[in-house]
């Protein structure tokens, strides 16, 4: 059976055509401008760009997590042969395929590590590796060379995977060939394995090594769980935004939002579970080499950030997303999606900055600059990736099933 484009609702705008090219340019300009402001202010601080880089890293990992969450969503959808998510899958593919942009945005971090300046990672500076405890780490793992090689590897894998899914899916728009779906399904389980390992080790390299003496086996899972929450919140808002501009108005229905919201709810709980596991086990055994990481995060003003994170990322959104109606009304769901995007940003900030600035929370213009900066460039990248492609996988054999999908 050939799925034809005629199964797709006629008359719906499915591409970004009509969107003024200005939008992408404005985003890119905002991005570069923000980064310039952040960088300039960072230089002015006179701390060898430490303030700049910690803010840069936090914001970078935030936007990276959204693309990684997207990549997971796409791969998992293929592995489980999901039908309901087909109409939203193209959006996820586009977000996931933003890897080149992310790779470019990673360059400042890479450069600073390779230069051995120690502005970001303490294992990287001139005094690194002098402690016994860290010597094996810096000798074999946390050294600039291997760090760079691994980073290249991660981006290569992510880029290749995301491109594979996007290109096959786009090819299918025209040919509607079910064999392409079979290819994507066959590749997806192995892709998931690759994804798990690359994301885990990336989080070890870029986030966990901020405190080189500290370690946690669940850290990769923690970053992953946050990434899924961030992505789902983002795609809900993205879909709502597109529908507000008159696109995809029939493809993405209240049933899809309901399912995305159910997933978001479940992943918020999953994030809470992972966060609690890590915290409680370290708290309970009370071993100083592990508790040091949390001790910083419950001292001074970081304590309040931790409390806000607990309530803002778990407890409040749990009750907010619990009612069925909350998941089906755009206004309410949009509110919670936005809330969780903020909460996820706070999570990343909380992961990065206390390890580098134990004194306390010091939000400033540098943070704003980096947020706007990286965000602007990131979204410009998404728009560029989207180009004139349809925003719905028109040739997918399960498109009809997805359009007709109804929650019971």
């Amino acid at each position: 059976m050939q799925a034809s484009a005629s199964s797709h609702p006629a008359g719906e705008r499915t591409t970004l055509e009509g969107l003024p090219p200005r939008v992408a340019l404005v985003l890119a300009a905002m991005g570069l401008g923000g980064l310039a402001v952040g960088f300039g202010l960072g230089l002015a601080q006179g701390d060898a760009l430490r303030s700049f880089f910690r803010s840069y890293l936090a914001n970078y990992c935030y936007f990276l997590s959204i693309s990684l969450g997207a990549l997971f969503f796409v791969t998992l959808g293929h592995a489980t042969r999901a039908g309901w998510s087909v109409t939203t899958r193209r959006l996820a593919e586009l977000v996931a395929a933003n890897v080149p942009c992310l790779a470019i945005l990673f360059l400042p971090i890479l450069v600073t590590v390779l230069s051995g300046s120690g502005s970001l990672y303490s294992w990287n500076g001139s005094s690194a590796g002098s402690e016994d405890l860290l010597r094996h780490k810096t000798a074999y793992y946390l050294n600039p060379g291997f760090f760079a090689v691994r980073a290249v590897f991660y981006f290569a894998v992510w880029g290749w995977m995301a491109r594979f899914f996007l290109l096959r899916s786009t090819e299918q728009d025209a040919s509607a060939d079910p064999a392409l779906t079979q290819r994507m399904e066959r590749f997806s389980p192995a892709a998931l394995v690759l994804f798990a390992f690359t994301v885990t080790f990336a989080s070890f390299d870029w986030l966990m090594s901020l405190e080189p003496a500290w370690f946690s086996t669940i850290f990769g899972v923690y970053y992953f769980s946050g990434a899924t929450v961030g992505f789902l919140a983002a795609i809900i808002l993205l879909a709502m935004l597109l529908q507000a501009t008159g696109r995809l108005t029939s493809s993405i229905t209240v049933e899809h939002y309901h399912d995305l919201a159910k997933l978001l709810f479940a992943l918020v709980v999953f994030w809470g579970y992972i966060a609690f596991s890590q915290y409680m086990l370290i708290w309970y055994a009370n071993i100083p080499e592990e508790t040091s990481w949390y001790l910083v995060r419950q001292s001074g003003s970081w304590k309040w950030v931790s409390v806000v994170l607990l309530f803002g990322h778990l407890l409040i959104p749990f009750f907010g997303l619990l009612p069925r109606e909350a998941k089906r009304r755009k206004a309410i769901l949009g509110f919670w999606a936005g809330w969780l995007l903020v909460a996820h940003w706070l999570d990343l900030y909380w992961l990065v900055v206390p390890s580098l600035e134990a004194a306390g929370l010091r939000l400033g213009l540098i943070d704003a600059g980096c947020l706007v900066g990286i965000g602007g460039v990131y979204f410009a990248g998404v728009l560029w990736t989207a180009g004139t492609r349809p925003l719905v996988p028109l040739g997918d054999p399960r498109l009809e099933e997805s359009l007709a999908f109804e929650n019971s």
């Binding site: 399904e185 394995v193 579970y273 086990l281 309970y284």
Partner: protein
Amino acid sequence: MSTPDLPADDNTANDPTRRAPLVIGRQDYASVTETVAKVAERRTCSPLWYGAFLVSSALTGVFFLLIGYLIVTGVGVWGNNIPAAWAFDIVNFVFWIGIGHAGTLISAILFLFRQKWRTSINRFAEAMTVFAVACAGIFPAIHIGRVWVVYWLAPYPNQMQIWPNFRSPLLWDVFAVSTYATVSVMFWYLGMIPDLATLRDRAGTKLRRLAYGAFALGWRGSARQWHVYERAYLFLAALATPLVLSVHSVVSFDFAVSQVPGWHTTIFPPYFVVGAIFSGFAMVIMLMVPAREFFGLKNLVTARHLENMNKILLATSCIIGYSYVMELFIAWYSGNPYERFAFMNRAFGPYAPAYWTMITCNVVVPQLMWIKKCRVTPWIMFVVAVLVNVGMWLERFVIIVSSLSRDFLPSSWGLFVPTKIDVLMLMGSFGMFFTLFLLFCRFLPIVAMAEVKQVLPHGEG
């Protein structure tokens, strides 16, 4: 649009343009009912059932005799000793609880994910959960030494004016396993009510009608009752899902909150949960492959169902492999000499054979499931499932005994050697499990008829 007719007895094709039928052989409501109900309605069983039941009840008898012997004589009849104060008792406990989790996953989690293929196997799996939890619960109760005061674990007002220590994961276990047992039984029973009503309505003898009728509670298929029923089923599924995550996480806390090298690692909770699902699915496959043959359920529990279960087996095996890699990497990365030694000891110490068998059975063997042929061939998946069960038992053994027998202080090291009682009790617990399971197959509806009818290809019936 027209769909080409697939052969009625093969639904393992991977055609993205249509969803594979979940019931094959041109079934309708009546034939589904007949297929399932006749298993429970046989007046006499096959000799195979009697033979299996005889063996399993004998083992059960041995099990309870040994429990009596243990209570009268003391925990010294086991090989437990300092430093390996936990051994087979806790390994068996974690093993059985883990097995139970697959049932809840199939019932609850697959339900929430709208995986309709679960309907042919969920009753079977839920029963497995209930019986596995029953076997599991025995071990912590009898390993405490003074079994006759086990009720002290419960927070009841008492004249000693003491209360349980809620800061201990051993007590969290009490609450977690009790809750899990209660919720599993309720979920299993709720699901069975309509099917018990089916058996009641078809009952040939007065005794059967009264018995099934009593437990069917007068169910009459009323839409108003179905409405409440469906909501309750959804809630129980939605509650059972985090519950199953939490129960095995709490079990993992028994180890992870300690400071023992090899135990104290933050990935334990999700790793244990995934391991539980892994071993549970292996048990379901192990039971289902012969059961669908002997009870004639091949049209309901099709090759596709088996294939899906094997895919989950493969996925969980990969996650287990991931967790092993994480533990090893972080043990190296941390530089903690005790942690590093713990893993070297596992691989090259006195229990190395157990370790390498575990790696082979848990990570290597299930990789066969990448191959489609293996996924749909019953005897292959049966062998793989048996090996996975062995591997998962060994995993708990390796974690517990290798870490305990050699922790921080070499002068405190000591080898654990199992006694005959240890081994016999493990076998006895299998006997109890299979006895209950065989009774279930004999008397209760082993497939959720009402649910399968809902997923029949449209227009049948």
